[in-house]
């Protein structure tokens, strides 16, 4: 298929990518700044083309439980929301993680806590990477910094979710959701037939269909030994993900004396700050974690041997910086600059903050 370059918002890209990657169902509830995801899906009417189900639920609680129901059939299902809505989903997310079901959850973050603001934020790093619901679980967390990645990470998120039978989160900030950029949409991939779903997900609950034993999807294990075993199995899986699925991107880190660590839209602004600082003679690079969990701990440890310090920049009060500091383990200084409430720092502002904190 010829590549057609299109201009669209990050939120719209997610919707188109979902249809094209063979998604079976989307369940959601409107919330700014991500409502374009469902709006685009409803306008596209994929149920008439690919057969994808799109349903507006009565709440985010319901959406995530619809995702649970669909995922437990082995179907490729997703939801999208923004921070307060995602908070409401946390019960369901914990159940899905424990029941080891694949799904994709999109969070286009806005400023919190509370009802907060509809302006962009990265305040849900803790919630997503540390497990916002109850119990010991992890979520594969992909952080896009371009509209192209918004589309690409839909397919990648599903692939990883099915590979490890665990939920993936596409954690974007409002900037990437609302921004329009050039994009080449992924090629069409047909939805799996029910036979293919049964083959790929023999644990799915679409009816026994001639199977000898019934399938039961549950996250309940009242016997302590069984629940311990569930936890051991989950942790082993998370360890494998940590070993195999770390993704990051670097700019000018080869000769860097200082490295910015930032994700999403902020990583792009840090690149501009890097250009300003390089022009002034500061050897600065940028490390952009693409997977926020698993976190590029080893790469930061490697860079720690080379650099004089790290500068973490986020649209929050300092969340990912804790993981940077854990990796650095006190060996070099780690600065932090954050803005909240939907204020996006400019490259000049970040460059000044860097000089004030790092260059004494």
């Amino acid at each position: 298929m010829a590549e057609e370059v299109k201009l669209m918002k990050g939120n719209e890209a997610i919707a188109h990518a979902a249809i094209r990657c063979g998604c079976d169902g989307y369940f959601g509830y409107p919330i700014t700044p991500q409502s374009e995801v469902m709006e685009t899906l409803m306008a596209q009417k994929p149920w008439e083309t690919t057969g994808m189900v799109v349903l507006q639920a009565e709440s985010e609680t319901s959406s995530i439980n619809m995702v649970y129901g669909g995922a437990a059939c082995g179907k490729k299902v997703m939801t999208s929301s923004s921070s307060p809505g995602v908070s409401l989903m946390q019960e369901g997310v914990s159940y899905i993680a424990c029941a080891e079901l694949p799904c994709l959850i999109v969070n286009v973050m806005r400023g919190g806590p509370g009802l907060g603001t509809i302006q962009p934020s990265q305040g849900d790093y803790f919630q997503t990477t540390k497990g916002g619901g109850h119990g010991d679980y992890r979520l594969i967390t992909l952080s896009p910094s371009t509209v192209q990645e918004m589309a690409d990470f839909v397919g990648l998120g599903f692939d990883l979710a099915f590979k490890y039978q665990t939920p993936s989160v596409l954690l974007a900030d409002g900037v990437i959701g609302q921004m329009m950029e050039k994009i080449v949409l992924p090629d069409f991939k047909p939805r799996r037939t029910d036979e293919e779903v049964r083959k790929e997900c023999p644990w799915g609950t679409m009816g026994k269909n001639g199977r000898k034993d019934r399938n039961v999807v549950t996250s309940l294990a009242l016997e302590s030994e069984v629940m311990q075993e569930t936890n051991n199995r989950l942790q082993a899986k998370y360890k494998a993900i940590e070993e195999n699925e770390v993704r990051f991107e670097e700019h000018n880190c080869e000769d860097a004396e200082y490295v910015f660590v930032a994700f999403g839209s902020v990583a792009r602004i840090c690149e501009s700050a890097m250009e300003i600082l390089r022009a002034e003679g500061h050897k600065v690079g940028v490390l952009r974690p693409i997977t926020l969990w698993p976190f590029p701990t080893k790469e930061i440890q490697r860079l720690t041997k080379q650099v004089k310090g790290f500068m973490d920049v986020e649209l929050n009060c300092g969340q990912m910086v804790e993981d940077v500091r854990l990796a650095v383990n006190g060996q070099v200084p780690v600065g932090f600059y954050g803005r909240q409430g939907g204020i996006i720092p400019t490259a000049e502002e970040i460059a000044e903050a860097f000089k004030a904190q790092m260059v004494k």
Binding site: L7, Q178, M180, R268, I269, E271, T346, A347
Partner: protein, 181 residues
């Protein structure tokens, strides 16, 4: 080539769509483009603005502190963005409703009185295309034909009858724009 543009005004003036048309034309010319709105309730009647970047190379930050071009269509936007035009850059404004003229002398100031003209021609809906025509007359950052191609591609078929009026509006804007300093 890299052009960093802010378009700002009241919601309903077509600020966001003007930015989108510009970005689309840039895309058709093979440029890297970003279109980043200040989104939210201000879209509905308050102030609205959009940052459009057109570049031959990869665009890093989609949000900026200063701009090559500021198009300001109301007083609050003038107050906010006049100081943020880069020295040697360009400010384009519509004097309708403005209580204060731009004061900077280190930038090129242009006036395009599109509001009055649009009312005079009873063409209020093509107001933003007049402003765009003015911009492209003094800073031909994209080709008019690509603007028209972009419009054609982004407008639904049933609205294609409006294309000639939009093209005409751009010509009106090109004739209307005047340098003030």
């Amino acid at each position: 080539m890299k052009r960093e543009i802010i378009i700002a005004g009241f919601g309903g003036q077509g600020v966001l769509s003007m930015g989108k048309i510009l970005a689309y034309a840039g895309l058709l010319q093979g440029k890297e483009v970003t279109w980043m709105p200040a989104y939210g309730p201000e879209q509905r009647g308050g102030t609205a603005n959009v940052t459009v970047i057109l570049s031959d190379t990869r665009i890093s930050s989609p949000l900026l502190q200063s701009y090559d071009v500021a198009i300001v269509l109301n007083q609050p936007s003038m107050d906010k963005f006049e100081p943020r035009v880069k020295p040697g850059g360009m400010l384009i404004y519509d004097s309708n409703g403005m209580t204060r003229k731009p004061t900077r002398t280190d930038i090129n100031v242009y006036r395009v009185d599109a509001t009055d003209k649009a009312i005079e021609l009873n063409q209020q809906k093509t107001f933003n295309m007049m402003v765009l025509g003015g911009l492209l007359h003094v800073d031909p950052v994209v080709e008019i034909e690509n603007v028209m191609l972009g419009l054609k591609k982004s407008l639904p078929e049933r609205h294609h009858k409006l294309l000639p009026a939009n093209e005409a509006a751009m010509k009106v804007g090109a004739d209307l724009i005047v340098k003030e300093n």
